[in-house]
């Protein structure tokens, strides 16, 4: 739940999602769910020439299971809040 809540805070920010098939997509995070499936808007593929089929795609849904990384804007993170939330989560119910 921690990362789900965390990503919900990032809705509206621009992120780059790198997939396990090495495709990297930059876009605005529109929504996220409990499986960490991601919806991106206004996407731009990193290395567009290698993926011509993505040219006509503006918005996309990415299955959570295929995500390798989600690259965040450095100012989009309040590390201290994340730290505290993690410690609270680790302490257990």
């Amino acid at each position: 739940m921690l990362f789900f809540s965390y990503f919900k805070e990032l809705v509206g920010k621009e992120v780059t999602v790198e997939l396990k098939n090495d495709l990297a997509i930059r876009g605005i995070l529109r929504s996220v769910d409990q499986y960490l499936n991601i919806k991106l808007e206004n996407i731009r593929v990193v290395d567009q020439d290698k993926y011509p089929h993505m040219l006509s795609v503006r918005n996309c849904f990415i299955r959570g299971s295929v995500v390798r990384y989600v690259q965040l804007p450095p100012d989009g993170v309040d590390i201290d809040i994340l730290h505290d939330a993690t410690r609270r989560e680790a302490r257990g119910p």
């Binding site: 739940m1 809540s5 919900k8 997509i25 929504s31 499936n37 996309c60 849904f61 990415i62």
Partner: protein, 113 residues
């Protein structure tokens, strides 16, 4: 820990052997937070599969596993600058094979830009 009540999603959640289910209907405000594929229904989509295939088709159905039904599906084979479409008909795609589902902007719209 933040307890998030899963409110406003039509979903069935099963846990272990207890098998409890939580169901509720989507409220208007929940549509914005949902990563549901409902907004893609009846739209022409590009589906990328784990094996590298690209399928195009109109989304007719989906579920929580991202299983997908595509009508008028075709596989787009791209080699360099050339591409061709292999017509496939009505397809059910198992969600575990789905990498990405992209909403296709109609080419006629792109010409205006």
């Amino acid at each position: 820990m933040l307890f998030e009540k899963v409110r406003g999603y039509f979903s069935v959640i099963l846990t272990g052997r207890k098998g409890w289910a939580a169901m509720s209907w989507a409220g208007p405000e929940d549509i914005f937070l949902s990563t549901s594929l409902a907004s893609y229904l009846d739209k022409k989509l590009l589906v990328l599969l784990r094996d590298g295939r690209k399928l195009l088709g109109v989304l007719r159905s989906f579920d929580q596993f991202a299983n997908v039904v595509l009508e008028g599906a075709c596989e787009r084979v791209i080699v360099g600058d050339l591409y061709c479409d292999i017509p496939l008909g009505l397809y059910v795609i198992r969600g575990e094979n789905v990498v990405l589902i992209g909403e296709l902007v109609l080419m006629s719209l792109l010409m205006l830009i």
